[in-house]
Amino acid sequence: MSAAAQDTPVPVPVPVPDDAIEVEGLSKSFGERVVVRDLSMRVRRGQIYGFLGPNGSGKTTTIRMLCGLLTPDAGRGTCLGLDILTQARAIRRHVGYMTQKFSLYADLSVRENLEFVARIYGVPDPVGAARAAVERLGLTGRDRQLAGSLSGGWKQRLALGACILPSPQLLLLDEPTAGVDPKARREFWAQIHELAAEGLTVLVSTHYMDEAERCHEIAYIAYGELLAQGTVEDVIARSGLVTWSVTGADPAALARELAALPGVEMVAPFGTSVHVGGHDAAALEAAIAPYRQRPGLDWRADAPTLEDVFIDLMTRSKDNFAKDGAGKDGRR
């Protein structure tokens, strides 16, 4: 940043390279426990990048390292072309971070919260900007309500509104739609896509598969390790999973039986049907062959879903983890 740009209250676009996020070998441990291990990723500018992984896999920790809230133990990287280790302050000006837990001021009103954010970021006309944000959020008439008294879904919307108020170039959203109703979620995603179309880059962590499918690219992290990365189709294709679905009476009992078979690596009941999968197509077919003859069961070969892939990734990484002896802290 040039010295002349320092005092300008209006955000001056930083010349951003193609990659909004580009990190290599990021690691972070808390005490003995490695929470993020040798993580590398790239997010292209204007992309919506989904960040998935089981609870405690290190998503929040990674996001915090990206915006300079945590110092990585090892690794390097840039955010918007700025070094995450040395230019954290400059990064903060251009990054909107929405925390997993609501962390605006519960004892300030909606408008006061937004005005505070606007003033800290030096948005011109903070009062006007806050009023505009209130309208955009659909909170007109409730702008004097204390933020703490909003419902969970509205809190999330307010938090997102506060994030985009200072017109950042990169949004880091940590589970922004947890506990939000389907309609609001859809609106939320429509808004994210609009912002991305305007050139904003969005990294969003989520546990919802349908949201993952709305991302341009996704990354799957488990136990601190990045296990898969790419478009949804790529990730599914690269998984090498073969799946069948079977419909019949008593799917729970069926699932138990199938799970015990060699060659069956994954069994998941879905309503009246059961999803069965494995990596070795021949072994899987051999295993289920006797069951295909059984009356009342309707077998169909189908493509694995993203969820199948993730659960498979998670199971296998847990096995590896246990084998390495690295899973001594005994996480799920």
Partner: protein, 386 residues
């Protein structure tokens, strides 16, 4: 634009201040506490002082009954502080009366007292006081000083060696009163209370409220958002401290005005100087409170730390016990406490008319303490969540 410039910095401090003020106004309980603590203390102390106890039960153990002893007893009662209620016969009996709390004073006139006075032998009369409650006994003891004179005038005593007021003033008085404050050797005087209250109330409220203000952000999770914003630690600190400077100023004004109105505290020195030094003291306390808040994990710990710090302040600053009577090591500790210096300065200004020149040492010490606390606070403020 991330705001290296002073303008950006001021703007962020302003935003922070505004936010703190809104939160302060919204937190009715805290706000009420800030006003109520000084008011309550003042009313309580004011009540205690306005009813300076009179007619305190007194036992007189007279080993002779002469016109002089009668004159002394009459002057004792004349002061309105003493009411002779008991006439014990033995020292043991007098001792028991005092221990049981039946009397607050025992006046002992030795045998052959009058004769000794006439001979100019300068004999002693012993007054033992139950000083467990120094406010109760203090003013009565102070009144004793005039007793010799009144008793002598009353008796129109001709003391050998020339009458008093005849240019022979360096001659010892006719007799001596040895007062013996029992159970509490250092009696607190009333004039000490206003400077003391001013100092302790400011210390308490300033510390608690700043200590809480940062830990509250950590506890409620808002610190994560704050840290992710482009604001510097020193800007956060200044923005958080500033509203409380005003609160402190309001409290100080309240106490000083009430002190003048309620206790007739003389304001010998300059009120402007007092205001300036009070400002310095407030900022010093706020910086210390801020340092605590960067050490504490939660609001409870912050409150505990404040109390731990408050205790030596009360005990060692000279508010409760005279500074001069403390051992060397305790004096060194108290020199590091802002309250010690502030009390000296307030007493100096209010009661003795001290000027800035007289207070250079304490001003310098207070400034140094403040700067050290600020430095620690800013350097301790974590810019990350590690």
């Amino acid at each position: 634009m991330s705001g290296g410039g002073p303008l950006g910095s001021l703007r962020r401090i302003g935003a922070m201040m505004r936010k703190e003020f809104l939160q302060l106004l919204r937190d009715r309980v805290s706000f009420a506490t800030m006003i109520m603590i000084p008011l309550l203390q003042l009313v309580l102390f004011g009540y205690a002082i306005n009813t300076t106890p009179r007619h305190l039960p007194t036992a007189v153990l007279a080993h002779e009954n002469t016109s002089l002893t009668r004159a002394i007893l009459a002057s004792l009662e004349n002061t309105k502080y003493f009411a002779v209620t008991h006439h014990p016969r033995t020292e043991a009996e007098a001792e028991r009366l005092m221990r049981s709390g039946d009397v607050l004073f025992v006046v002992e006139i030795p045998a052959g007292f009058e004769r000794a006075v006439r001979r100019g032998e300068n004999p002693s009369m012993l007054v033992a006081a139950d000083a467990t409650d120094p406010v109760a006994s203090g003013s009565a003891l102070a009144a004793l000083r005039t007793l010799v004179d009144t008793a002598m005038t009353r008796e129109r005593f001709i003391v050998e060696g020339g009458p008093r007021g005849s240019g022979l003033e360096d001659q010892p008085p006719a007799f001596e009163i040895i007062t013996h404050a029992r159970y509490n050797p250092a009696a607190v005087t009333q004039l000490n209370i206003v400077p003391g209250l001013l100092g302790t109330i400011l210390t308490m409220t300033m510390l608690i409220f700043t200590a809480l203000s940062v830990t509250r952000e950590i506890e409620r999770g808002t610190m994560e958002t704050l840290l992710a914003m482009p604001i510097r630690p020193v800007e956060v600190m200044l923005g958080k401290i500033a509203p409380y400077v005003m609160v402190g100023a309001a409290q100080a004004t309240l106490i000083v005005v009430a002190g003048i109105v309620l206790f007739d505290v003389p304001v010998v020195g300059s009120l402007g100087l007092l205001a300036a030094l009070t400002g310095l003291f407030i900022v010093a306390n706020l910086s210390i409170g801020y340092t605590f808040s960067t050490l504490a994990q939660n609001q409870l710990q912050a409150v505990q730390m404040t109390f731990m710090y408050f205790l030596p302040n009360i005990l060692l600053s000279g508010f409760m016990f005279p500074f001069a009577g403390m051992p060397q090591w305790a004096q060194w500790i108290s020199e590091t406490l802002p309250l010690t210096h502030y009390l000296r300065m307030v007493r100096g200004i209010l009661l003795k008319g001290a000027t800035a020149d007289d207070l250079v040492y304490d001003m310098a010490a207070l400034t140094a303490i403040m700067l050290v606390a600020m430095l620690i606070a800013v350097s301790r403020f974590r810019q990350t969540l590690d």
